[in-house]
């Protein structure tokens, strides 16, 4: 057994690198003296560790899909792509945390350490092959995020965010575990492969247990990706947390949760017809509700972060549409959507963070007249807003188009109609900020400290894929197709 | 069915009678020992050398007026000492007095609760100890009692950790959690002369365990829960006569149990003391009786050690105590575990 573990260790290198970075950050932080101001070394160590992890994920792309560590984890290119996206998202949020004034100076290295822990949880979740590993991934993701949400010490909104997240997450994790234990009780195993085999032969009596249990199980995953009806924590937590933390929350847990949802759907719900139909009905209802509620509630928001939170809920609705078609094209469209969503969200949150930390809050009025003061940033934000709502020729449009294509191909016309209407509605709140930036007068003429040369350059680099993916999308789509799911 | 019940009944009676019956003796030893260390005489009026003093104490406790103050929460106030003594007596069920013996053709184990778990059960039952104290402190409706109870409870659960790390190392050394197996393994000899007692195999663990049991039983130098000069009498300040006597008994029973555990793991338990081999060769059926005598004498020596330390070392302050438990003993325990595992791994290759 030890020899087998050592042989498989090479597949596990990304997680190990991230864990080592986390320990390194903790050790390095303890060597700083009491009043030392800048913790640059910790920052560079985090970025370096994440870079090494990304390189090792890319190096693993050529290895054949396999399950390892006695069937608890699975290695395939889909999981690797998710891990890469999560690593990139973490790098972006860590950089933002070091630039932002919303996180206290002495807590910046804790942010890195905990964010790395959340990343490991996310990586576990996206390559789970075992109910235990899946639950452990969800818990690691959640528990460490609770602390991140409450990072601003004397801010009551931050404390409220943390508390709401804890309460909600605790209950939902309990429900998920309840569902998992019933699934184990009914089928006798927690390995996904064996569950799949058992589901093929299941009969009506066991289905009476299994369907509610899978519903409860979905509660845990749905809460992580913030889909209706498990979305109520999302706006308060997103608004109350410091903005780098919000950026982190809208990237890493979503990718991880979507990856877990995809794995669960493709593993369990492609074998038994009755279960199939139940699950797809469930997902369709949830997708439709999520899209609608996310969009409609985003209209009346005063705070940009809350608006972005609700809009990310509706994006998750689109992703669930891509998941429920349970085909390779669906998977490909989901991956493409996640890639483009990553870049759009990074740019949007960077600009919102840097503007709102200057003025203390993130209401829409703070963005008045940004076009006259920082034209480059305004243009980029405009582009990202158009892309988020799905206007060609940007990447958001291509992503949504792909999802529409697979949904219509499977003849779910009602869902496609929902999605189309919601995309139109989303145009309103995305363009609200564009209108304010371009057509209104600036409130004040002070310099925004965050928009130095380096930051503007980085934001521009991150926004290049938003345009590029919209134009040269065929290549990337083929590449996303290579991210195949391995269902043994 | 009936003889199973009878067997358990007899074992229970024996295992309860020995500690509870020896409490008066321990009390007397404590007082005379304290007096001797402090160069004074101690109680010597009530019988030859004051040997009937504990009897007088018992009568005092029985006949004192039972006062239930009006400000306490009655139900919990009355239950707390009972709960304390109950939780203190539970671990006795897992402690063996001698090796398993045969009556006719049936193997009889000298412990009341025989499972494969041995030390696990004793440790789990000891973990329930703090509840009586907590309930007493809370039910007294008195800030000082509350503080004393919380401090005592925090101290007990912190030092449980140090003890646990040592017990894990012990598992590795003896390969089993059964106390009989541990004593059998300690009867072999190490390098031919000295017996393979736990104290020679695990010296660091022995010291840690010793410190741990002083803290678990709230004895000096860790007795700030009942520190007379700080908190009046801590969690049992509102208790008088027999209820106080129950707490007192619970503390001594706790001491006895932890000493028995300590002696069984590190000092050979019921393995025979040197010199008894001679008697056994002549009367082979007396071995079990002699094993019980060995165990009891070793525990008695441990009790004297408790009294000795009590009157020799000053009391720890609360923050010093918590620092010692978490920042010193726990890391040392973990390092000890690591070293033990490495040594065992290297020796098995």
């Amino acid at each position: 057994m030890p020899v087998q573990y050592l042989a498989n260790l090479s597949l596990y290198v990304p997680e190990l690198v991230v864990v080592a970075t986390m320990m390194g950050v903790l050790f390095l932080e303890s060597t700083y003296r009491e009043n030392e101001k800048n913790h640059h070394f910790v920052f560079f160590l985090t970025l370096f560790g994440l870079l090494v992890a990304a390189v090792s994920v890319v190096a693993n792309f050529t290895v054949l899909p396999t399950e390892f560590f006695t069937h608890s984890l699975i290695h395939d290119s889909f999981g690797n792509l998710s891990k890469l996206l999560m690593i990139f998202g973490t790098m972006a949020s860590v950089y933002l945390s070091y630039q932002s004034r919303e996180i206290d100076q002495d807590l910046k290295s804790e942010f890195s350490a905990i964010a790395l822990g959340v990343l490991v949880g996310g990586m576990l979740l996206s390559s789970a092959h075992n109910m235990l590993t899946l639950y452990l991934g969800v818990e690691t993701l959640s528990v460490l995020s609770y602390a991140l949400a409450a990072m601003r010490k004397n801010d009551e909104k931050s404390a409220e965010a943390g508390l709401k997240y804890v309460l909600y997450g605790g209950v939902t994790a309990g429900l998920m575990l309840f569902g998992i234990s019933h699934i184990f009780g009914a089928l006798g195993t927690i390995q996904f492969t064996e569950i799949k085999l058992a589901l093929e032969k299941v009969d009506g009596a066991k289905l009476a247990i299994l369907i509610p249990s899978f519903l409860l199980f979905f509660a845990g995953i749905g809460y992580k990706i913030a889909c209706v009806p498990f979305h109520m924590w999302s706006p308060d937590v997103y608004e109350g947390s410091p903005t780098p933390v919000t950026a982190f929350f809208s990237l890493v847990p979503k990718v991880a949760g979507v990856a877990a949802l995809v794995r669960v759907t493709f593993s369990f719900f492609t074998v038994n017809v009755l279960l199939n139909h139940t699950w797809i009905a469930l997902l369709s209802t949830i997708a439709a509700l999520t899209l609608t509620i996310g969009n409609v509630t985003a209209i009346g928001q005063r705070s940009v972060k809350r608006m972005l939170a609700f809009s990310s809920i509706s994006h998750v609705g689109m992703i669930i549409l891509g998941v429920l078609v349970t085909s390779d094209e669906g998977l490909r469209s989901v991956m493409f959507y996640l890639i483009s969503y990553l870049f759009m969200t990074i740019v949007a949150f960077y600009i919102v963070a840097l503007v709102s930390e200057q003025y203390g809050n993130d209401y829409f009025e703070r963005f008045n007249g940004l076009a006259s003061r920082y034209p480059l940033m305004a243009i980029l934000l405009t582009m990202v807003m158009f892309s988020l709502s799905g206007v060609p020729p940007l990447s958001g449009f291509v992503a949504k188009f792909n999802i529409f294509a697979v949904v219509i191909e499977k003849r779910y016309y009602v869902l496609a109609l929902f999605a189309a209407l919601n995309s139109v509605v989303s145009l309103y709140y995305y363009l609200k900020i564009v209108r304010l930036m371009i057509f209104k007068e600036a409130e004040s003429s002070e310099e925004i400290r965050g928009f130095g040369f380096v930051n503007q350059a980085l934001i521009s680099i991150c926004s290049v894929p938003v345009v590029l993916l919209g134009i040269y999308w065929e290549r990337v789509l083929m590449w996303a197709q290579g991210a195949k799911l391995f269902v043994p | 069915m009936l003889d199973e019940f009878l067997e358990i009944l007899i074992k229970t009676v024996v295992i309860l009678a020995i500690p509870l019956g020896s409490i008066p003796l321990i009390l007397q030893m404590e007082r005379r020992g304290a007096a001797w260390i402090q160069k004074r005489v101690g109680p010597n009026r009530v019988g030859p050398y004051g040997l009937f003093q504990p009897l007088a104490d018992v009568f005092k406790f029985l006949f004192k007026e039972e006062v239930v103050p009006s400000h306490v929460k009655k139900f919990f106030y009355i239950i707390a000492p009972i709960l304390s003594l109950l939780m203190a007596l539970l671990p006795l069920a897992g402690l063996p007095l001698c090796a398993p013996f045969f009556i006719g053709d049936q193997k009889v184990y000298p412990e009341v609760f025989r499972s494969g778990l041995g030390i696990f059960y004793v440790f789990a039952a000891t973990a329930l100890g703090p509840y009586g104290i907590l309930l007493a402190g809370w039910a007294s409706n008195n800030k000082f009692s509350m503080l004393g109870a919380l401090r005592a409870c925090a101290q007990m659960i912190s030092y449980e950790l140090a003890i646990s790390t040592t017990i894990v190392a012990i598992f590795f050394i003896y390969g089993s959690s059964d106390l009989h197996v541990m004593v059998e393994k300690q009867n072999e000899s190490l390098y031919g002369i000295i017996p393979a007692w736990g104290v020679f195999l695990q010296p660091v663990g022995c010291v840690l365990f010793l410190v741990g049991i002083f803290a678990e039983s709230n004895r000096l130098p860790f007795d700030l829960a009942e520190g007379e000069s700080e908190l009046v009498a801590g969690y049992h300040v509102e208790y008088s006569s027999m209820k106080f006597a129950l707490f007192y008994m619970a503390e001594y029973v706790h001491m006895i149990i932890l000493s028995t555990l300590f002696v069984t793991i590190f000092f050979g338990g019921y393995g025979l003391l040197p010199g008894m081999g001679f008697v056994v060769e002549n009367l082979p059926s007396s071995i079990y009786f002699l094993q019980a005598i060995s165990l009891i004498s070793k525990v008695a020596i441990m009790m004297w050690f408790f009294v000795w330390v009590r009157w020799s070392i000053p009391r720890f302050r609360y923050d010093q105590l918590m620092n010692l438990g978490w920042k010193t003993l726990l890391p040392i325990g973990l390092v000890n575990l690591l070293v033990t595992v490495i040594v065992i791994y290297l020796r098995s290759n």
Binding site: L107, G117 | Y131
Partner: protein, 167 residues
């Protein structure tokens, strides 16, 4: 169909009664102590199901560590008595009763339709050996990764609760 046993029924009732006390009692400390007794009741149920090891672990971990922390913190906080959670408005009461009955109905149907594989005499013999073999060989990786969760949670607790040095 189901063979019931007095010990089993009384143990389950014991645990159930104290669970109800935990939810409905007004005094937080009494609720915490009832939680302790409920855990001990569960330990008894595991014992009747044949696993002494699980009983000991339940007492050691749940009753001896988790419940102590609950009791400790609640005593420290010195809360006043809360209002009980029995709803008083008619609709909430009605909805609550319907929900409880529905849940019990579902559970009963599920259990009675599946007694063939829910029966406990088919449980395999679990000793410490088999348990630890599974833990350290088959499920080693989740076991080791849970330490990462603990580490992260410890760091999080420390930085949330430490005092801010005013800048």
């Amino acid at each position: 169909m189901l063979d019931t046993n007095l010990t089993d029924v009384s143990l389950c009732l014991f645990a159930a009664v104290f669970a109800v006390v935990v939810v409905f009692n007004k005094n937080p400390v009494v609720a915490a102590f009832s939680l302790l007794l409920m855990f001990i009741g569960f330990g008894g149920i595991y014992f009747r199901l044949g696993s002494v090891f699980l009983t000991t672990i339940q007492i050691l971990v749940y009753a001896g560590a988790i419940a102590i922390l609950f009791v400790f913190v609640l005593m420290l906080m010195n809360l006043e008595e809360t209002k009980t959670f029995i709803p008083t408005k008619n609709f909430s009461l009605f909805a609550g009763i319907v929900a409880i009955l529905a849940m019990f109905g579902i559970l009963t149907i599920i259990i009675f339709n599946n007694t063939d594989y829910l029966a406990t005499d088919k449980l395999p013999e679990v000793s410490m050996n088999t348990l630890f073999t599974k833990l350290f060989e088959t499920y080693l990786v989740p076991f080791e990764l849970s330490t990462l969760l603990l580490l992260g949670a410890t760091v999080a607790v420390v930085f949330i609760s430490k005092k801010r040095i005013p800048q």
